[in-house]
Amino acid sequence: MPIENSDFELDFDTLVSAIGQAPQIPQDFRLRIGKGSTIQIDPVTLLTDRPGVFAGGDAVTGPATVTQALAAGRQAAVRIDEYLQHRYPALPKETRAALTTPLLPRTIELVRRVNRLDPPVLPAQDRTGGFAPVELIYDWKTAIDEARRCLRCGAGAEILFQDKCATCLNCLRVCPYEVPQLDASGTLQIPADQCLACGVCVAECPAKAIMLRKPYDRRQVTEELEHALRSALQTSSKPLLVGFCCQYGLFGTGSLAGLWKAASASIWIVPVLCVAKVEEEHLLRAFEMGAEGVFIAGCGAQCARENTGQWVARRIEKVRRALATLGIESERLQALPTDGEEASTVQAVQEFADRVGRLCLTAALKREVRK
């Protein structure tokens, strides 16, 4: 099909034909040539067998991509610099140690299988009719569920304070993925590239020696709580509820908007990477700072991590015992069941808020009666 204005004439001094089929090297240039007329080079230094002559790209590999040629050019620049400065050539990138090691088979075994949710595709008969994309987009819920499959494990735990570590072995014993390891000298190591960032060990370490690496979660939950409660208590006359929510659960469902609208209580959400990371002292501290009710909402059945329910249950049980000795009703601390549906989540929170509201009323009445 002819293209308009595509025939024209220009003047040049030199025209280099770079069609990339085969290098054209003069015989007397004395470079070693290999299969397909490609130039032979030392794989580390990128030097040909002629001193000071470097080669890369299609001339070396034969027909290949522009990207590879660009990369070769960049690498050659480094090598030329080393050559001119008489520096020892650094090993190429590929031979340096990998940033992360593959996951151990045992760890893989212990990770919960959650199948990939493929996006819907255009039925075959509809594809031939036009150029519309074959792969369609997810609906909101499926998108969240698929995103949930990412464990955000890059946040990996580490023993930040080895001098605090008493080698009590709690982290080793509670890890659902058997990640912490005792080395030969009896020191505990948590290999960050194996860790799946559930945060159970962070919350269970009796010496508070373990932290999750990701800056987002390193932010102290306590600071967040204190800030939240201080401002909320100042501004609201409604009873204050604090919710510890995993980012996939309450957040992921888009329920928040629903919550703010419907609530009969003032609700502050503290986001966490995983509810298994919520520590007992956070729960108690919320009450200490004036919360009338505290709830924990995870991602429920969609949870990609192991045993989070068990950890939440344990922590709630322990805090409830303490609350009981303080005369605070156990019902004020709840784990809310979530199934990822916005409506039911909002409803669960609303019901909880109502329950707490009734408890507050009863308590207020009792105080009046006592007076």
Partner: protein, 231 residues
Amino acid sequence: MIVAETKPLDEIWRSIAPYSRVLILGCGTCMTVCGAGGEREVSFLADALRMSQARGGEHDHSLLEYTVKRQCDAEFLETFVDRSREVDAILSLGCGVGVQVVADRFPDLPVLPGNNTYFMGASSEWGVWDERCAACGDCRLADTAGVCPITRCTKGILNGPCAGAKNGKCEANKEADCAWILIYQRLERLGQLDKMRRYYPPRNFRVIPRPRRIVNKTQVSTGGNDGQVSV
């Protein structure tokens, strides 16, 4: 701190005599601190046993040496499983707890104690250890100004003192202070002598009957792999 002393050499020698290859296993925690079973004690003992063997004209025992961070948690014992296959017995220089955990882990090997474990105590000066706690499970140090009448009074009485003290020292051990005179002096200093004037009823000797166990993980019956919590 758990405090122990290494058994006399001849007793250890007799107990390992039937076994030609023995692993001497040290412990890097309490036994190191009290000098009864750390890495140094292990090598010293191994040398002494080898010398003892040589002087006796025998040469058919071989001794391996290894020290773990702690013997009382089985995970630490995994580091020498391969070595355990090369020996006929393990001589543990752990405290009584360590010896038993090692024995549980290696039921096909005789595990022999190299130490006599005495008590839980503290070091007042280098090389000196005093018993301080009897693990009675019913701590009453608030009533005795921080002096335990069970470990520091030879009779362990709760309404002390008895009439046996002379020069402030115990009738049974003239180097030990009478605990109740000490309690009196401390309470007087704190202005809390009324605590000593109180009647203390007979002790509960079976706070947790033996064999003793505590479980401190919160037991929950629900909450499983599906992430759901029913609390």
